[in-house]
Symmetry: C2
Subunit: 449 residues, 2 copies
């Protein structure tokens, strides 16, 4: 039975589309407003990263709408990190146990699939090039701009779901209300996307089923595989200082720098200098705010509520998990929006705060620690502990990435406890073989058995 409440979802990105499908399934009519043109019919730059790492929390959400098998066909499993040092020597770190992987998927492709599903629902209406300018919070009156006609107009939905991203205009209106806590904080690093094309025969020029990292202490480059044989590289690099985006001013400087710092891959990047100067330099923001809702009439979710930096590969996964949690509450509290929203924000806020902090921390791990043999040795030891005590020990990365529903805040707390244990344990360990030393085994027995 169709319900009468007028629901508007602001944002037709990944989270907005998934949410609209969940709302439609509950019997609501949903209007989805997206600022940009329909990406299925226009060739526009996404303005965002080209590929994303999809992991278990994300897959869980895609399963509920029946497209996980289709997406998996065009996703590339990455079973391990491959670290490239300055002399081109490689080292390896599996992400999880045998067969566990994170998946490189195309942001655009996934968004298209979700838009197709939404469009096929008779109760979902998609409106492209329709931008939120301002929300009058007391009345829920939204001033919209039709970007194709250049016309402003107003709508007054019963409930507004703001999935309009890290720079949410709905959130900006909420920010002006009393007692709205808000924080946007930027790293001193920017990012630049560069590319490694496929080989002449269409094959991948680096190991395909891996996430590649060139850790360089204060900065790094990474590469994720695409299904066309190419890799998308992302250089995470200081805005200012030496070296930095500011200090590399000429093509010769860029080539010289890459040949010195990333020697094994520079020859694979024929468009390097052009891409370096023509592609935009992105910034890296963390957004935290509270409350996420207003009087059962407005709810922020996804990046609009909690934008995070990309270093844990959890931005989309966290947004999809928002939808999963909200879906449960929609079923439990049928149309009692204020209860649904209050419960949602109370349950989710500690978890999105946790993943935000983990994501910032993981930048340090990726750019610096993974080049440290002691760190890699510790990861190997942790893997042995997981095998020996599977019920008592799971590495933090696995708790975050390969659990479909362990709350992020609990993963973080477990991880901190385990890190303290490892700090003590590693004092006994110089090589992988030391794992079998009696004192090591006794320590584990005492703490985990």
């Amino acid at each position: 039975m169709e319900k009468n409440t007028q629901l508007s979802v602001m944002g037709g990105g990944l989270v907005g589309c998934l949410l609209s499908l969940y709302l439609a399934k509950q019997g609501y009519r949903v209007d989805v407003y997206e600022r940009r043109p329909d990406l299925r019919r226009t060739d526009i730059p996404a303005g965002r990263s080209i590929n994303l790492a999809l992991s278990d929390r994300g897959w869980r959400a895609l399963e509920t709408i029946g497209i996980s098998e289709d997406i998996k066909k065009v996703a590339i499993p990455m079973y391990r990190r491959v670290m490239h040092d300055k002399s081109g020597h490689l080292s390896f770190q599996p992400y999880g146990q045998e067969g566990q992987a994170i998946y490189s998927v195309s942001r655009g492709g996934l968004n298209q699939a979700l838009l197709d599903l939404a469009e096929a629902q008779p109760t979902i209406s998609l409106h492209f090039q329709q931008q939120v300018l301002e929300v009058e919070v007391a009345s829920n009156k939204v001033t919209m701009l039709d970007n194709s006609a250049g016309q402003e107009y107003q709508i007054t939905p019963d409930v507004i779901f703001a999935a309009d991203g890290a720079f949410s205009m709905v959130r900006l209106s909420l920010q002006k209300t009393d007692r709205f806590n808000y924080e946007q904080s930027y790293l001193d690093y920017g990012y630049k996307e560069l590319s490694i094309p496929a080989a002449a025969d269409g094959s991948w020029q680096l190991e395909k089923n891996a996430l590649h990292i060139w850790p360089r202490g204060q900065y790094m480059m990474i590469a994720l595989p695409n299904i066309d044989g190419s890799f998308t590289c992302t250089l995470f690099f200081p805005f200012e200082g030496d070296p930095s985006f500011q200090s590399l001013k000429t093509e010769a400087q860029v080539h010289g720098f890459f040949q010195e710092i990333f020697p094994d891959v520079t020859a694979l990047m024929p468009e390097l200098a052009q891409e370096f100067f023509e592609n935009p330099t992105g910034s890296l923001v963390t957004v935290k705010c509270f409350p996420w809702s207003n009087a059962g009439k407005i709810l922020l979710l996804g990046d609009a509520a909690h934008a995070i930096v990309p270093f844990y590969g959890q931005g989309m996964n966290a947004g999809f998990e928002d939808c999963t949690v909200l879906r449960g509450l929609l079923e439990e509290h049928q149309g009692e929006w204020e209860t649904i929203f209050k419960t949602f924000q109370e349950v989710r806020k500690p978890n999105t705060d946790a993943i935000a902090d983990l994501a910032v921390y993981n930048f340090i791990e990726m750019r610096d620690k993974v080049a440290d043999p002691r760190f890699l040795l510790q990861k190997k030891i942790e893997s042995k502990i997981t095998a020996q005590y599977p019920d008592a020990w799971l590495p933090l990365y696995s708790m975050v990435t390969f659990s479909p529903d362990l709350p992020y805040s609990q993963a973080l707390a477990n991880g901190q406890r385990q890190e303290e244990m490892m700090r003590q344990l590693m004092e006994y360990i110089q090589t992988e073989e030391d794992y079998d030393r009696p004192e090591v085994q006794a320590f584990l027995q005492e703490n985990l058995a």
Copy 2:
């Protein structure tokens, strides 16, 4: 000689007025735009606290424009805290050494005096009821609203000084630019102003030359004297919970609560219930952001750059100190705005961060610790140390309040070091007389001589 640069100061409050005087003194023409009507000609509620605590940093700034003597005539020195317990028993804590005081001044009166001074300058033009709606940061084009005529118009100053307060519209425009770090965080407490009128003979009904505190653990009331014999009380109280602004719903509940919790003063507040329900409940925000400037064309200062909660009595003093520091840089770098602004924000940011954190901390001290005999004993001991080692020891409160120029960040660092010393020293001390014990004296000798 008059300079050609078009300077606009947004905000005709305390900081905006003082800054415009400094700029005029440097030979600039200055336009001051104030959102509200001229407070000298209208009887409007300030929308802000009625009286303020002026201390040495503030006096230093007022001396430079020659009005400190006039203001002192209408300011009331407060030499000590007077704590009122639940049975009406009083205890006392001097703010500093003999003769040192903070001063209760009328916000409106001080603002009027500054407006008079600004108006008397031929190179300062005051524009009232002129509100900033938005700044186009790339061009410095400001969309203004004339609140008397209801007309929008645009101006394009060469340089914009944003002294438009905690909810600065200039800052809101900067917030939308890339890499602008911003945080607004609210306490879970609100405040409500209440009053104790003068006695029939015009005298003060509580000790005049003191700041009164009713510390009650999780909340508190304070009172500052006014020159007309009245006191302005401020109740700092939770928004929600029991008791809270939400839980006191009827006049009888308010009277019952006050008579139980603030028994010695309730009889002095004849308008209590009416004021409680008619006066607004204010919220308490801390604002931090960075950078404060954009390309030598926009500068945030005062509350627009660093709004703080009122518990250290330093909000206005910090804003005035901004002007003092900026004044020095204006003289040193004549018209090199980018240098002036970059230096300003780098020098000031750590200090305003420090006073922001101290202000939040001081709420705990005022509402809870000043009711603790051990805390008061420690303060007495610290006072003795100051007398014995005047060059090596100054209490944190004195460093913040009675120093005209010690950077807040240095005061905070010194204070933390001293607090650790006191933690060790207080283990030897049960009474004031224990100060003379040989081990106490030896400890001080070793650490301070």
